[in-house]
Symmetry: C2
Amino acid sequence: MTLRTYVNTNVLLIQNYSDYSCPVANNYADNKIRSDDTVQTTVSRSCHDGYRRADRVLVKVQDLTPDKADQLIWLRARVHTSRAKGKQCFLVLRQQQFNVQALVAVGDRASKQMVKFAANINKESIVDVEAVVRKVEQKIESCSQQDVELHMERIFVISQAEPRLPLQLEDAVRPDGEGEEEGRATVNQDTKLDNRVIDLRTTTSQAVFRLQSGVCQLFRDTLINKGFVEIQTPKIISAASEGGANVFTVSYFKTSAYLAQSPQLYKQMCICADFDKVFCVGPVFRAEDSNTHRHLTEFVGLDIEMAFNYHYHEVIDSITDTMVQIFKGLRDNFQTEIQTVNKQYPSEPFKFLEPTLRLEYTEGVAMLREAGVEMGDEDDLSTPNEKLLGRLVREKYDTDFYVLDKYPLAVRPFYTMPDPNNPKYSNSYDMFMRGEEILSGAQRIHDAQLLTERAQHHQIDLEKIKAYIDSFRYGAPPHGGGGIGLERVCMLYLGLHNVRQTSMFPRDPKRLTP
Amino acid sequence: MTLRTYVNTNVLLIQNYSDYSCPVANNYADNKIRSDDTVQTTVSRSCHDGYRRADRVLVKVQDLTPDKADQLIWLRARVHTSRAKGKQCFLVLRQQQFNVQALVAVGDRASKQMVKFAANINKESIVDVEAVVRKVEQKIESCSQQDVELHMERIFVISQAEPRLPLQLEDAVRPDGEGEEEGRATVNQDTKLDNRVIDLRTTTSQAVFRLQSGVCQLFRDTLINKGFVEIQTPKIISAASEGGANVFTVSYFKTSAYLAQSPQLYKQMCICADFDKVFCVGPVFRAEDSNTHRHLTEFVGLDIEMAFNYHYHEVIDSITDTMVQIFKGLRDNFQTEIQTVNKQYPSEPFKFLEPTLRLEYTEGVAMLREAGVEMGDEDDLSTPNEKLLGRLVREKYDTDFYVLDKYPLAVRPFYTMPDPNNPKYSNSYDMFMRGEEILSGAQRIHDAQLLTERAQHHQIDLEKIKAYIDSFRYGAPPHGGGGIGLERVCMLYLGLHNVRQTSMFPRDPKRLTP
């Protein structure tokens, strides 16, 4: 009996992983799915180092274009949908954000049983198919590969999905409101997050997190080009150095420790240790019981710290230029991802200026007052006022990204350098995307004496920050920096409305799993 | 009175930071150090956005070469050493790993008082100097810039170091044993770590951590070129999923949580969520009370996970090729750093093969037995035996890097894929550098049923790993990966002997500060 006959008699062929050092086939034996040794006929034994590797080449879905027409190819993909129609079965096969139509029809190449078998493969199962690529006359609108379809000759189930999925991928990508009249479902956020492994398979999620990977890469590449050094800072710290509130406690052998609320103190120590310009990418922990669209208890901080020569605006310029390089990189290299997300979550393209707009805090307050907001000169900005100011700035300056400089000293942390010309203000700044804060930064106090005074003013236990203050006793250059929230940057760049959409496995006061 | 006269009358000029929005000068007023407004004469007011920026260009020490001879330049640097000699004062000015000799002599350009002032600047203070670059006839062996020296005309103290340093940089870089006869000191490791901000300024530390930054960059660039996606995984987790031992507990609002011992489970979930090939760089936490040269309670994991087509050796090949790219990148781009470290800690250049040597566990055991070690086939390797095997492999194959494949199943975690041909072994591997383990990895079980059985065999509470096991119920590709310890890679590549030397702010059972 030849291999082809096998297929025609509709035996489900599980790739025999035992020959590839993977025993999964055994687990299916109970389900009357037979493993098939004859598959080995395609296995080359000629590899130089003695282990066997299939010489079979797996084609990618995104490469299935008309220039492959009439070729017999192998493909590994998920069964996205399956639809039997008379003597035919249509599958949509998916790889990440790409998919292609595949069909098997009763005839010379396939038996009735094989068609039935194909129709019964559970959605989300992973299959290997051997198929001929065929051009189609009418574009297949529902697939990313619109000009070809696959005529399947063999199907192997590599990994079987359970029949009942906790959520349907097509529901999870449906725009809010759409399909409501037809009674079509959307999936609420908690269900998505509870079943994140499925939800991450959607085109929207694939696009979001591929873009997020791009943000990290653009951030680092830009800074490395500027001569920055990457550092690794500890997350377990001995004292709640930034004030003591909102900090998670860790049991550390026979004592207690804390989770770092930012790498702030360590990156400053690196500046005092002559690294000149440093950055780090890592988790940041906040024990705030905030249940909002933009707060997480654990998020990824993109942190920058640098010595400057004459003015802390050198730091602002470095950070804003880094952000601009990120925005440009996303615009130029991630259009597919941006448009994929926009299909589900429509938003205006992100606007930015070069050089970046920088306003002083007092100017911001004046704009808000002009718009009817009542607030004092040194009051902090509320979240609604930040958003309103973002809209006003966009109207006036046509940008979704700007810097608000010279915050009131009273609303900033103890290590913030006061403005030498006006002691009520400080050399500190926030940066905003679409009216929401994505970065908080400042010139830091680099003089141990002044730092001690400011810590005392904030009633911080000096003993607990001794190592930090001592760092400035042996010569410290003027320096500044800031911390960027990765998830917020991704959320706001894409015009999304919840930071949980841009955190793979979000942590908030109510969510610790998966 | 002109500026030059000021200098000649030996008034210490503190850069007036108040005009650069930095009030530090005020803090020194008490020390009778006068701020000098005349410095502003060099400040341009022409910047487009209204803030003043000095048009003064600061030259880098490493750029001080004979082609700058006779130029008047500005430089900001630390006072590395200071030595008065009759009517002259010699300073060595340092920037990171580079330094240059600078002198001021009583004469036309400087008063006796100015020379005295220069001689009294505390070591490690940061100064701005204006100086003429002069070629020297005899090379200055003690400096990195051997062909020039600086003739200083003005000196400003930017940040004053306290007079008594907790350790001397020249002691901290002295090779062990050297200078013992002359009674010269070395600095023990705890003193170095207690005063890490000073210790990190040494040429050795600067080199170590610049190389470490390079390792991260090479790791990521190689993987991004291979089509990997960077992911961010949570560090706070709800269950001690990898067995329960050695895990730190965190107070999480009204409940308890844990610190992730690795991103293992999350990167696997990303594979199940169709990301195909992923990597992450982040902290990893181990609550082990191990006080050894190679254990930390918090270290940086370079983690890889990928789906493979036919054989888990595809994963090994990807990882070993990534390591080879790192080794090549270091060899080709970090020779200065390697040689700087070697001056203090001599070691043989790191050797590697292409392709990487892969031995089976049984071969390793046979080599050890041949060398007189008594051990059973399925015993785990002790640390001394790992080291011995590393030496034997180096003798036989001339490589410091190799893979040991097919570990006994019993010594590996529950999620390790058993070897289908021999149930006593597994599809798992460790990688070694200079005889010490730097990576542990395996093919993972991608079938929920088999995973459940193996977890039960290891007596793991299934309820606690439900989300993890459920990830494999909806179609999961065969996959594998591994986790690399960044600090160990740096330590072993450089031939160092303690992992604390390659962790900026190391954490161990006895150290939580700085």
